[in-house]
Symmetry: C2
Subunit: 216 residues, 2 copies
């Protein structure tokens, strides 16, 4: 979400953001982009200050430390905030159609910037995942909701425990995304969009008990 979008949201909720809130927003936005580009330790407070349009000292009126900025960025900008609503918004009657459309939507979002998952990797590598538990409380209801979506669609699933089904559904995207960013550009171009289609096709044959209806 952009700073202006958050602003608009705050306004819609009846809250006029104070000047201080706007500055904090600018700091988070600036830090977010710098962290994606350079990682956490590779980004300095001075760079954040400059991009946010204030001086180094000014930052400390809004955040107690560099790590506090990281926590704010990690919570507010986690790709999950963009991906889960996109999945929930999919309108499809059958499980295969749901998964196909969800896959297209997710990959489209991931394709907009190839560093969307970097926040996750930074947290893993530079913080050894120590802030991740904080996120789970927020995340859990959505994960359960995605499990429910499967139950509401037509099409018979093979006997797969619900939690593992949801996990494998998430895994489908990791599988595609990670192998995509690791590919040399020429090879990636060669595979084209067929790869996603085939990945989804393999997954559908993997989870459905009924024959999988052809796409397109």
């Amino acid at each position: 979400m952009t700073a202006s979008a958050e602003h608009a949201e705050a306004a819609a909720a009846g809250k006029v953001p104070s000047k201080g809130e706007l500055a904090a927003e600018r700091i988070v936005e600036a830090a977010y982009r710098l962290f994606l580009e350079q990682g956490y330790h590779g980004t300095s407070m001075r760079q954040i200050a400059e991009r946010a349009g204030l001086t180094l000292g000014g930052i400390y009126n809004h955040f107690a430390s560099k790590e506090a900025i990281w926590v704010a960025v990690f919570m507010a900008k986690h790709p999950y905030h963009e991906l889960v609503p996109a999945i929930k918004a999919v309108d499809a009657a059958s499980i295969p159609d749901f998964i196909r459309q969800a896959a297209i939507g997710v990959v489209e979002i991931l394709g907009r910037h190839d560093d969307l998952l970097n926040l996750m990797f930074i947290e893993l590598v530079e913080f050894r995942g120590k802030h991740t538990p904080e996120l789970y409380a927020t995340l859990l209801p959505d994960v359960l909701a995605i499990g429910e979506i499967f139950a509401g669609k037509s099409g018979r699933l093979r006997a797969i425990p619900r939690p593992i089904l949801v996990r494998s559904f998430a895994g489908l995207f990791f599988s595609y995304y990670i192998t995509d960013i690791l590919l040399p550009p020429e090879v990636r171009a060669m595979m084209g969009r067929d790869a996603l289609h085939t990945f989804v096709d393999i997954y559908l044959h993997g989870i459905m008990a009924d024959p999988v209806p052809a796409d397109d």
Copy 2:
């Protein structure tokens, strides 16, 4: 590979490592562990020197810069060096058995330390993947070899382009591994080893044209 293993290998190849080569090895080994623990920018040359058992200045007799150490570590310690031989060593007659045993072997290796893929993530986040192309030349023959393995086993595959098949095979492991390390410990314990079994089962149903024979 440990420093002593590399030493033994060099000796077996008839090369007696010089004192300087041993020091360079110790530097790579020390940097490797520190990078996994703290990332690249989070690790200082002084920490590397201390753990390698020499002083800061001494490092520069072996490496021109900190980044040169990164390149040496990235090339020598990439998890691919451990994973590909393990996959090639699998002895199975059918494709399903091959994939099941490969999955068990890979996950066993990944399980030994949960930071095995951190090298990859650091390269992605802190260097924006700029050294990755150097690795492809080394990697390509092995990738093709894995494609050939499928051709030599019994069992009919669905019509899946060979490159995408290999990519999806790699993706299976990313899918399992990433969703594993992101899981809260309690949930991970709950899913247990079933999850891997189910992931492999889904994948096999996804790629095989014949009915998939039951495991165990």
